[in-house]
Amino acid sequence: MSDTVSVARASDTRLSPPVRPEYERPLEPIAEATIIKVLPLHQRLWQHAWLRKGVILICLALIWEIGARIQGNTLLLPPFSAAMKALWEDVLNGVIPGRAMNSLEVLIKGYAAGVVLAFVFTSLAVSTQIGRDLLSTLTSMLNPLPPIALLPLALLWFGLGQGSLVFVLVHSVLWPLALNMYTGFTGVPEPLRMAGRNYGLRGLRYVFLILVPAALPSIIAGLKIGWAFAWRTLIAAELVFGASSGKGGLGWYIFQNRNELYTDRVFAGLIMVILFGLLVENVLFRQLEKRTVTKWGVTR
């Protein structure tokens, strides 16, 4: 017990705290909740995420506008205002909404199918060793393959049109989501996992009632990535194949205008994609996060 520690401080001054009188106090009644200090207006405004993000968006738009004007190459990079004008026109005359609807329809189908498949794969992977190996092998093999590589197969199996598009969308959504989901599942703390099994939960119920909520942050990140890559792939795929000109989507709109050098329309189409991205992020995913991980206090 008396080993001396090699400590820097001198040990001969032997500080001792003073002895103070004791006291007892009657129990204070519980006060009303504190009044939360009212912040100055600009600080209060700044607390709103939409405002901060709005400012960021305006800044980005300004940078674009100014950059484009400096560049002065409207055929390559039209100013923001020109793109917005084109967007406005083509929204009013119904071209963009129609194209967007076509895209969204395929997108949602492909996304949903990808999500379901990702669940199936990861559920298999968490329950069996061979499922685990299969997932890891398939993911590392297929994930790096560009969608065009699957084109011949898609043609053979699904024919032209939506079927093939959905197929390549699944390819885009499935692997990153499965990877993230599986990572989330493996990171669930052991006591939580044991509690779930202790409830008598097995198989899919175990996955859905324990693993999924516990891994939700990772899953949401995977869903976001999958969503973004579904868009990327859809736009790219609509360029390459599948769109018979009658019912093309946004990708087709972009491609056509790009071919005809209507660069302002190209950017109008891209702005549509960006708007969808912002909308889905700030409404759908934000709400999902608010109602789950934020409410539960599992992420900051």
Binding site: P191, L192, M194, R197, N198, Y199, L209, K295, G297
Partner: protein
Amino acid sequence: MTAPSRHVGGTNGFPLSAPLLSVENVTLEYQVPGRVVRATQNVSFDVWEADRFILLGASGCGKSTLLKAVGGFIAPREGRILLDGHPVHGPGPDRVVVFQEFDQLPPWKTVRENVAFPARVSGHLGRKEAAERAEHFIEKVGLTRFADAYPNTLSGGMKQRVAIARALAMEPRVLLMDEPFAALDALTRRKMQEELLALWEEVRFTLLFVTHSIEEALVVGNRIALLSPHPGRMRAEINSHEWDLTSGGSPAFQAAANRIHGLLFEEAGADGASHE
């Protein structure tokens, strides 16, 4: 049959029927990259129906591991664990564990849901009954005011109490508790002990209880298994059915406590400062 006094067994000699839970020569090991950590070695004990069986031992002696093995989470490296004469295969709601860790509560459920949900899924109850049962046990652990809070907004001791309520609400045949009261202050702890024993009085479940407090062991248990320090080996089994919540400070109680202390720590004390 009139209600018998609590600790008197049916037979007073060695019983003829079989124990509910038999741990037979169980060695438990963890495989960590590069080496094998032995948690317990050749541990045997029998738990009879309605026993309040205590595992007592030093920190790191394998109490939690043993409890998890009985819970079905860890397979013994050697020996076997029998429940009703059948080897234990995997976990199940008949053996509910209160773990030592604070993060055993699903953070996506409120306190109320955390208690009601397992009672429902483990198959016993409908939604409404489960909710009522949850209400009841949340009140017992003194968390009624926090019934709608999420676990991440609770203090350590409160989390532990939710886990206790959850386990009680599941009404398992065997209740496995791993230092459930460690994070509680004296009064709350006392209350929890009272509640646990009152419930036992009523339902007569079987309890396997890990603690590091000798007093608690004497008060809560009717039989105490003493484990040696790492790796855990059987040291002794001691009867403690004569003590209850009221027997706190008596000299006999003190003597029993001292005897246990001696059994547990005499070797450890002998090799002194090295601690291991």
